[in-house]
C-alpha cells in the first residue's frame, strides 16, 4: 500500500492534535492539552482508486518554549498548515511557517486549515488576508475538530494534492 507522510504544522493551541484525533479516532475533547514532542498516527484512506496509508506527524506548535525541528519534515509528502480562526496571530504564524518550509525543504503540497469554525461568533481573522492567500493559489478550508466540519475534506484534499 502506498504510504504518505503528512506533517501537522501551526501555532500552539490551534487544534492540530484535535484534528488528528477527530480524523483518526472520531474523538474530540474540549480540554486543551498541549503537545510536547511528536505524536505519530496512521490512517488508511481511499483516494480516487488508490488506498493510501497516511502517516500523520502531529508536531508540537512552535512558540518561545519549543522550536521547530525542520528534520521532521524529511520525507513528508505534504503538510496541513493549521490556524485558529479566533486568533488572528495564528494565521500570520501559518504564513511564516509556509515560507520557512519552502526555504527548508522546498515546495511540497499543503492545505491551510482554519480551525474552530464552530466559534464563528469569536472569529477574528481578516478575510482580506484569507482572500489574498487564496489569490496566491493557497488551498484554504475551514474546519471544526469539535463538530467534524471540514476535517475529512481537509485531509482528503491534501491527499489528492499529494497524489496529483
Amino acid at each position: 500500500m502506498l504510504q504518505k507522510k503528512i506533517c501537522m504544522l501551526g501555532s500552539f493551541a490551534v487544534g492540530k492534535t484535535s484534528l488528528v484525533r477527530r480524523f483518526v479516532e472520531s474523538i474530540y475533547s474540549d480540554v486543551y492539552q498541549t503537545t510536547v514532542g511528536v505524536k505519530i498516527d496512521k490512517k488508511n484512506v481511499q483516494v480516487e482508486d488508490k488506498e493510501v496509508s497516511l502517516v500523520l506527524w502531529d508536531i508540537y506548535g512552535e512558540d518561545d518554549y519549543q522550536k521547530m525541528r525542520w528534520t521532521y519534515l524529511r520525507g513528508a509528502s505534504g503538510y496541513l498548515l493549521v490556524a485558529d480562526g479566533t486568533r488572528k496571530a495564528t494565521l500570520e504564524k501559518a504564513v511564516s511557517l509556509e515560507q520557512k518550509v519552502r526555504e527548508e525543504v522546498g515546495v511540497i503540497p499543503f492545505v491551510l486549515v482554519i480551525n474552530k469554525s464552530d466559534l464563528i461568533r469569536d472569529w477574528e481573522l481578516d478575510s482580506a488576508l484569507e482572500s489574498q492567500l487564496a489569490a496566491q493559489g493557497w488551498n484554504i478550508l475551514r474546519s471544526s475538530a469539535k463538530t467534524g466540519e471540514g476535517v475529512e475534506e481537509s485531509f482528503a484534499l491534501l491527499a489528492r494534492k499529494m497524489l496529483g
Partner: protein, 667 residues
C-alpha cells in the same frame, strides 16, 4: 559484578541496541519493561530486530544517527521526545541517542517518563497563561470601546441637570433653596469635569491605537479604496459564486477625494463587503457605487440578500456587539467600527432594505478640500474663554428653531430660551427640523448632532443648500457630545457657524446667541423671570410665547387627533406590529409632552420602548393606563379651550407673573 553491570542499563530503563547494516538492531543488554510493553514482539525476538519498521520517528532519526556515526567526532546526536502508543493505548514518551561504545554503533533508547510529565505540566501552564493573556487583551479592547460609549452617554443627562438647575436658580425661591441648588450645580460641574477627563483620556488612547497617521486633513480616493478592497476580496466572492462589481452608473475616470485614511477606509469597505457576501446567495450580485452629494461623497454596497434583519432596527445594526438573530457574523464590532470611523471623519452611515430585494449599506464622507488639515480650537476652551464675558451679554429676541431628539433637553432649553424672550419652535428629529425650517423663518437653528432620521450634519447641509442664491443665511449652531477640536473643525466645515459642546450651560448658549448676526436692529432684552413649570393654562400660554390663540389651536388639534392615534396604537398592538406601535407611541409622546402631561408621556414612552423591543405582551395594560392619563389631560384641555381670552397685555407682563385668578379660572 559483570552481571550487575549488564543489568544496570535495564534497571535504569535504558535499551542499548547495536546498529547493524540494513537497519536492524541487536540488543546488547536486556530490554526494559517499557520497551517490552511497546514492542512485545521485538523484545522476545532472538534475531536482529527491524526496529525502524515499527517506529516512523526512529526511521527519521536514523538519518541523523547515521550522519553521526559516519562522521566520528561530530556533536552528540540525541532526539527530542516522541510519543509511542502501546497495544493497550498507553502513551509512552521515548528519547533516542546515538553513540559509539567500544567501536560499535549504539542506539540508546529510554523513556523519560517523570521528567517528560514535568515538562508537559510546565508548558501546559505557560501556554494556558498565554491563551488567557490573549483572551484578556481581546476583552479589554471590547470593554474600552464600551467604556467610551458609557462615558459618552453619562455626559448627556448633565445637559438637562445644568439647564434645570439654572432655571430653578432664576425662580423666586428662598436663599436656603438657592444654597442647595448652588451645591448641586457645583457637584454636577465636578462630575462634568471628571467625565470630560475620562473621555479625553480615552479619546487619546483610541486615537493612538486607531487613528495612527490620521489627521483631519488626510484625504484619499473613495473609489480607489473601493476597487482595492474589491481586488482583495474578489477570490472570496468567486469562491462563493457571488458576482462583485462597481455600479455601471459610476464614471471610472472621476476623482472621489474624501476626508479619511486609506487603510481604514479599505477596512470599512471590507467590513461592508464581507457583510454583503455573508447574506448574498450564490449566483447573485453585490454592487459597489459612489455618488456625488456636493460637499459630501457617498459610497454604498448593495446586496441581493434577504434585506435588513427584522430583529434589528436600521440604526441598531451599527451598534456595539450588535448581531442579528440570523447572523453568522463576528463579534459585532465590524459595523460598529465602520460607524465610529465614519463619524470621526465627519460622515454618517446607514442601511436600508431595498424595494425589490436585498439591502443597501451606505456611508458618506466630507469631500476633501485643500487646507482642511488646520486644527480648530477646543469647544470647551472656546466656551470657557468666552464665558468671562457672558454676565454682561444682552440678547436680542430671536426666532429659534431647536431640534433635539432628547425630549427633556428640548423642553428645558426651549423653556429657557422662551423665558429669555425668544420665539422658539422645537423639532424632535432631523426630518421635522427641516420641515419646520422650510415652513417658517428663523434667525438661529440649534441642531443636535445625533438625531434619528436625519443627523444634525445632514440637516445643516440641507439648510445650506436651500440657502444657496439667497442673501439671508441662518445662524447654525451644532450641539454635540463630540468635543474634540477636530470635531469642531469638521462641523464648521459642514456648514455650522458655532459648536456647542454637550453638556452645555445656558450661559454658553446665550453667549453664542449673542453672536448671531442681526438681520434688523432690534431692541436688547434683559433676562426675565418666568412662570413656574407645569401644565396650568398660564404656563401653557407661556410655553407658546403668550399666544393664547395658538395654544387653543394646538389644544383643538390634540383633542381632534389623539383618539385616532389611540385607535392606531390599539390596532398596532392587536395586529402585532411593533414598528407601527413604536412610531405612533413616539408621536403621541411628543403631543402630550407639549401639554406637560408627565404621566401620559411616561406611558407613551413605555409603549414606544415595547414597540422597539418587539415585546408586545404587556402593551395592552400600558395602553389602558395611557388612556386613563390622556382622559385626564383631555378633560383639562377642554376646560382650557373654553376659557375666555385673557385681557390683552404686554408680553413682558405675561412673562413676569402668572395670572392672579388662575385658581378660580380653573374651577
Amino acid at each position: 559484578m559483570s552481571h550487575l553491570l549488564e543489568n544496570f542499563p535495564v534497571e535504569m530503563g535504558f535499551a542499548l541496541l547495536e546498529y547493524r547494516s540494513g537497519g536492524d538492531f541487536v540488543p546488547i543488554t536486556g530490554l526494559p519493561k517499557w520497551f517490552s510493553e511497546l514492542w512485545p514482539g521485538l523484545a522476545k525476538a532472538s534475531a536482529p530486530i527491524p526496529l525502524t519498521q515499527q517506529s516512523p520517528f526512529l526511521e527519521n532519526f536514523m538519518l541523523e544517527a547515521e550522519d553521526f556515526w559516519n562522521s566520528p567526532g561530530s556533536a552528540a546526536c540525541q532526539s527530542e521526545t516522541w510519543i509511542e502508543k502501546s497495544g493497550s493505548g498507553r502513551e509512552i514518551p521515548v528519547q533516542a541517542r546515538a553513540l559509539f561504545l567500544g567501536g560499535k554503533r549504539i542506539l540508546v533508547l529510554f523513556s523519560p517518563d517523570s521528567q517528560f510529565h514535568e515538562q508537559v505540566k510546565m508548558l501546559q501552564t505557560a501556554r494556558n497563561a498565554l491563551l488567557d493573556h490573549e483572551r484578556l487583551a481581546r476583552e479589554i479592547q471590547k470593554k474600552e470601546i464600551l467604556l467610551h460609549c458609557i462615558v459618552h452617554d453619562l455626559s448627556q443627562p448633565l445637559s438637562v441637570m445644568h439647564v434645570a438647575m439654572d432655571s430653578l436658580l432664576e425662580e423666586p425661591i428662598s436663599e436656603r433653596s438657592k444654597q442647595f441648588l448652588t451645591l448641586g450645580k457645583h457637584a454636577s460641574n465636578q462630575q462634568e469635569t471628571m467625565i470630560r477627563q475620562i473621555l479625553q483620556t480615552f479619546s487619546d488612547d483610541l486615537r493612538a491605537s486607531l487613528d495612527a497617521g490620521t489627521e483631519a486633513g488626510s484625504s484619499t480616493d473613495l473609489l480607489k479604496c473601493a476597487r482595492k478592497t474589491m481586488a482583495l476580496l474578489g477570490p472570496t466572492f468567486e469562491a462563493k459564486g457571488v458576482r462583485l462589481a462597481v455600479s455601471a452608473s459610476v464614471v471610472p475616470e472621476s476623482r472621489w477625494p474624501v476626508v479619511g485614511e486609506a487603510s481604514r477606509l479599505q477596512r470599512i469597505f471590507s467590513n461592508l463587503l464581507e457583510n454583503a457576501l455573508r447574506y448574498t446567495p450564490a449566483g447573485r450580485h453585490v454592487t459597489i457605487g459612489v455618488e456625488d452629494e456636493g460637499d459630501f461623497l457617498k459610497a454604498y454596497v448593495d446586496d441581493e440578500g434577504p434585506g435588513l434583519p427584522r430583529d434589528l432596527r436600521p440604526e441598531q445594526i451599527f451598534g456595539l456587539f450588535m448581531k442579528g438573530k440570523q447572523s453568522g457574523g463576528k463579534a459585532g464590532l465590524g459595523l460598529y467600527f465602520c460607524r465610529i470611523t465614519v463619524e470621526r471623519w465627519g460622515g454618517s452611515i446607514g442601511a436600508v432594505t431595498l424595494p425589490e430585494r436585498g439591502s443597501r449599506f451606505w456611508f458618506r464622507l466630507p469631500r476633501a478640500v485643500a487646507g482642511t488639515g488646520a486644527r480648530g480650537s477646543d469647544l470647551r476652551g472656546s466656551a470657557d474663554s468666552a464665558a468671562a464675558h457672558r454676565k454682561h451679554t444682552h440678547i436680542r429676541p430671536l426666532r429659534i428653531l431647536l431640534a433635539d431628539d432628547q425630549e427633556d433637553i428640548r423642553t428645558l432649553t426651549a423653556h429657557q430660551l422662551k423665558r429669555n424672550g425668544h420665539k422658539v419652535v422645537t423639532a424632535e428629529d432631523g426630518i421635522h427640523a427641516l420641515k419646520a425650517f422650510h415652513a417658517s423663518s428663523f434667525e438661529v437653528v440649534l441642531l443636535d448632532q445625533e438625531m434619528p432620521g436625519m443627523t444634525g450634519d445632514e440637516v445643516a447641509r440641507a439648510i445650506r443648500k436651500a440657502e444657496e442664491g439667497k442673501k439671508k443665511r441662518v445662524f447654525l449652531i451644532a450641539s454635540t457630545g463630540n468635543t474634540a477640536s477636530e470635531d469642531a473643525l469638521r462641523l464648521k466645515q459642514g456648514g455650522f457657524d458655532e459648536v456647542l459642546g454637550k453638556p452645555f450651560r445656558l450661559e454658553d448658549l446665550n453667549l453664542l446667541l449673542s453672536s448671531a448676526p442681526v438681520a434688523k436692529p432690534s431692541r436688547q432684552l434683559l433676562v426675565q423671570p418666568s412662570s413656574p413649570a407645569g401644565s396650568t393654562f398660564a404656563e401653557l400660554v407661556a410655553r407658546v410665547g403668550g399666544d393664547e390663540k395658538l395654544l387653543k389651536r394646538m389644544i383643538h388639534t390634540f383633542l381632534r387627533d389623539t383618539p385616532k392615534r389611540l385607535t392606531g396604537i390599539a390596532a398596532a398592538i392587536r395586529r402585532k406590529k411593533p414598528e407601527s406601535l413604536a412610531s405612533l407611541a413616539h408621536a403621541l409622546k411628543g403631543s402630550v409632552s407639549i401639554f406637560g402631561a408627565e404621566g401620559a408621556r411616561k406611558q407613551a414612552n413605555v409603549l414606544q420602548e415595547l414597540g422597539r423591543s418587539g415585546e408586545l405582551s404587556g402593551a395592552p395594560d400600558v395602553l389602558a393606563q395611557l388612556k386613563e392619563e390622556i382622559a385626564k389631560l383631555q378633560a383639562n384641555l377642554r376646560g382650557y379651550a373654553n376659557q375666555t381670552p385673557a385681557r390683552p397685555k404686554s408680553k413682558r407682563d405675561s412673562r413676569r407673573r402668572p395670572p392672579r385668578n388662575r385658581g378660580k379660572r380653573r374651577r
